[in-house]
Symmetry: C2
Subunit: 300 residues, 2 copies
């Protein structure tokens, strides 16, 4: 009989400023009601794929994490500490659950902390990959396109305090888009800029199209597109293997005319888009090759 219950996660709570870390009982809560993460979504995070007890693509995650923290004016995280704790948690997970769960999800969370203390909160969790990920990789995702709901001001109109390049905890709008997709028989939303028609990103992943067998394209990251650690890893890895990888504006027509369209993110990895709105996107001959390429790039 297959157990439907996922194993409990491993949680380490970190003291900020390079202090100690402690293993936290996952059956008990550790976040206070007045933590800025809870009251304002005022914090940053990274989701990191663990494979066989080892974190993947860690340098890019660490760099984006530091950059997100800086954009939010949080004290610079002691990345050495985050890496050490991650290694310990990853190994502990692997020792306990590696056989059944060789792929796991590690999350770094760093918040402005409690209103009553002013000390940032920081923790690392390692847990099983959500079940629906494997299904998405196997079956693909039907994607709606839609407006993000807002236009990010750039250039002279940009707010000097803009946080949109940071990977913050403010995902309520994206989660609403995702629920809307599911209520309408789809699995995800690819956001499109309403003024220019440019493809932006999906709710929690980067859009990549494949053309002519070995050409990979992704929209240029910027204030309305989060810079994707997985896309970067893929482009580096694929570029070294003879694929032509380019950052380039994409439009919905480019999705429809591509050989294949992929949603790429750290833990879910590569998911092929099997339909864009009402248009089916049949699998190309090289679908397995591209999926393997993404997996290999992320495992590299």
């Amino acid at each position: 009989m297959v157990s439907l219950v996922q194993p409990q996660p491993i949680i380490y709570v970190l003291e900020p400023f390079g202090g100690s870390a402690r293993l936290h009982n996952p059956m008990l809560p550790h976040v206070f009601h007045d933590d800025a993460a809870v009251t304002r979504g005022d914090g940053v995070f990274e989701a990191i794929l663990l494979l066989g007890g080892e974190p993947t693509n860690l340098d890019r995650h660490a760099a984006r994490f530091a950059s997100s923290a800086a954009r939010l004016g949080l004290p610079a995280p002691y990345l050495g500490q985050w890496r050490e704790v991650t290694a310990a948690a990853a190994q502990a997970w692997h020792a306990q659950h590696g056989e059944k769960h060789p792929a796991a999800r590690c999350t770094w969370t760093y918040t402005r902390g409690r209103e009553s203390t002013g000390v940032p909160s920081a923790w690392v969790t390692v847990g099983a990959e959500p079940r629906e990920h494997a299904r998405a990789r196997a079956e693909g995702a039907r994607a709606l396109t839609g407006p993000r709901g807002y236009q990010v001001d750039t250039g002279d109109k940009a707010a000097p305090w803009l946080t949109t390049g940071a990977k913050t905890l403010n995902y309520a709008a994206n989660m609403a888009a995702l629920r809307h997709a599911k209520q309408n028989g789809f699995d995800d939303v690819i956001f499109v800029d309403t003024e220019t028609g440019r493809v932006l990103e999906a709710t929690t992943s980067t859009v990549i199209v494949v053309k002519k067998g070995r050409r990979l394209r992704t929209p240029r990251p910027g204030q309305d597109i989060l810079s994707g650690t997985s896309q970067q890893a893929l482009f580096e890895y694929a570029g070294q293997r003879g694929y032509k990888c380019k950052v380039k504006d994409l439009y919905v027509d480019d999705l429809l005319s591509a050989e294949s369209v992929w949603l790429v993110s750290s833990v879910r990895r590569g998911v092929r888009v099997t339909a864009v709105n009402e248009v089916e996107l049949p699998a190309p001959k090289n679908a397995a090759e591209i999926a393997a390429l993404i997996d290999a790039a992320l495992a590299d």
Copy 2:
């Protein structure tokens, strides 16, 4: 000797769906790492002023809370339960701290809950009003104007899942604006639409201008301006007392030419804007009258 330590808050954790409520020890955390509030800011809240052990403006808060929950696709909150718990917590606060803290802050928080359970999380806290509120009421606030950083798409371009009318936990961008203001010698930011120049709202309050002694104006709430419960209470109360209250587009020039400009919110109540960017706004003769009017409206 004046104690600098604020008293511990009173926390009730509610079972959703009209279940029971329990008093929670405020020295212990109660939010789990995988609560959607923490991981996605996926929840809604209200901040309610308590005066002398009684909640104020509760019908409007309850209505907006229900509306926010509906916009996020959360199960409808059992408002009777929220009200009962609020009354109990408010009375407990008043019995313990009413003499030193006759004004208190009550917060309602309602989230999509833990990823591992799928059951919404719900709690009510009552605590001391932040110290800086009294200072802001006494000294006023110097406000920067600035872009919100994004334009909310409305009309045909609006996303069908748009959450911007909901009071969600996604305030990281507003908090960044507030930090920017403070780093530059200001106390708050009044957001202005970059395309039209319309005044929107401040980071956590509604903008109201007073002209010709007894005319009150506020921008029309909509997808880029949260409907303000305090502004509504003020307009109703003031309207019954001969003030002319109108919802009307406002521009920065209207702020500069007004007799006075106010930032109105539930717990901080009325704070007069003493400067807009580099322009000082001296107190008008009726400043005390307007401050008292706001207080009376919120206490009504």
